[in-house]
Amino acid sequence: MDTVNTLIVGFISIVLINNLVFTKFLGICPYLGVSGRIDMAFGMGMAVTFVVTLSGTLTWLIDNLILMPMGLEVTRYVCFILIIAGAVQLVEMYVRKFFPSLYESFGIFLPLITTNCAILGLCLFINLWGVDNLLEAVVLSFGAGIGFTMAICIMAGIRENLKLSDVPECLQGAPITLITAGLLALAFMGFAGMIR
């Protein structure tokens, strides 16, 4: 029962309280780039969720079963980035084979998931927080993906409405998006006291 509790608390905490986008500033580039339309944002979120779950699990396994016992921590970053690149390649091949239309609409953004800092960032945070069992690592990675999807979808919804409003000329585009993100981050701070 205790493990289930820890897992649920961990999941909620990474989705709401330690949301990667709003509190750790990870994944800002796709967040600004793809949040123009809500269906694209959702697709992107799903792809990121898949890659982050896969690579979070794999990096935890490799880190704990190969690198640490053999004292190869120095090569950690190189290994992590190779795993992520591999996972992205896998997703790309899969999507191209089974969902060609989705593949077309993603274009360049699919391979760019490799350089999405949310993914490498999460792998590093799992390592930093000293997560010591596989199940927790899987749940945290999945939660991080869901948190990212939620953030990018909220933003896409707001931006679709923003198109209709009168924004000062110099703030159009990225600046107003950043300011909106700031206000959203302020709103998400309200969750901070929820756990512990």
Binding site: F25, I81, T115, C117, L128, C170, A174, I179
Partner: protein, 213 residues
């Protein structure tokens, strides 16, 4: 001969200035936003981050430029990331050894330099196509431009959240009998997003004025 060197110097100067303002990585290209937002609580971590990025950018541009003729198109990005990851590991170990407190404060944002889009972008757009000299100058310009931007943003946030710049008190705080009430929000994520948004707006205005006048 003299004409040729003159031409070369012109190219170098142009490349250097491009990184500083016209194609400033943060303000104009919107690259490397994550570290920009995360480490700019105060000037000191921002400067450390900027210097690490300059180091990694210089080294990876040099290596990529040297091996540019050997690169296979489909393995290109992979080669870039592995090169960058190697130099980031060096920078990370260096920071851990010589400035452990700063390294702890920056935490995972040092290894996150690997996925900083500026570095891959420069490797792809410049170093894999141009000679060693141009690549080095380009890295220097882009790196310094990035560092300066970080410092400006960090300076604004630090002075508004603590009344100090580089940990040297400038405004007299109300708690010590002065007039300035620190804005706690500036040291939080909110402050980062909004300050950067407004700065981008300011840069947009300035550029528009310039092109008009």
């Amino acid at each position: 001969m003299t004409n040729d060197t003159g031409l070369k110097a012109g190219v170098y100067k142009e490349t250097l200035l491009r990184g500083l303002w016209r194609e400033n990585p943060v303000f104009r290209l919107l690259l490397g936003m994550c570290p920009t937002l995360a480490v700019t609580v105060a000037v000191k971590p921002a400067l450390t981050m900027g210097l690490s990025v300059i180091f990694v950018l210089l080294c990876s541009n040099i290596v990529v430029s040297i091996i540019r003729k050997l690169l296979k198109p489909h393995l290109r990005i992979l080669m870039f990331t592995v090169t960058i990851a190697t130099f980031v590991t060096i920078a990370d170990l260096f920071l851990k050894a010589y400035v452990p407190r700063m390294s702890e404060m920056l935490g995972p944002y040092v290894p996150l330099i690997i996925v900083n889009c500026i570095i891959i972008c420069r490797a792809e757009a410049c170093a894999s196509k141009s000679s060693l000299g141009v690549s080095i100058i380009d890295a220097a310009g882009m790196g310094v431009g990035f560092t300066l931007t970080l410092c400006v943003l960090a300076g604004i946030r630090e002075i508004l959240s603590t009344g100090a710049v580089f940990e040297v008190a400038i405004l007299s705080l109300q708690s010590q009998g002065g007039w300035f009430v620190p804005l706690a929000a500036m040291s939080m994520p909110v402050g980062a997003f909004i300050t950067l948004g407004l700065l981008l707006g300011l840069v947009n205005t300035i550029t528009k004025r310039k092109t008009k006048g």
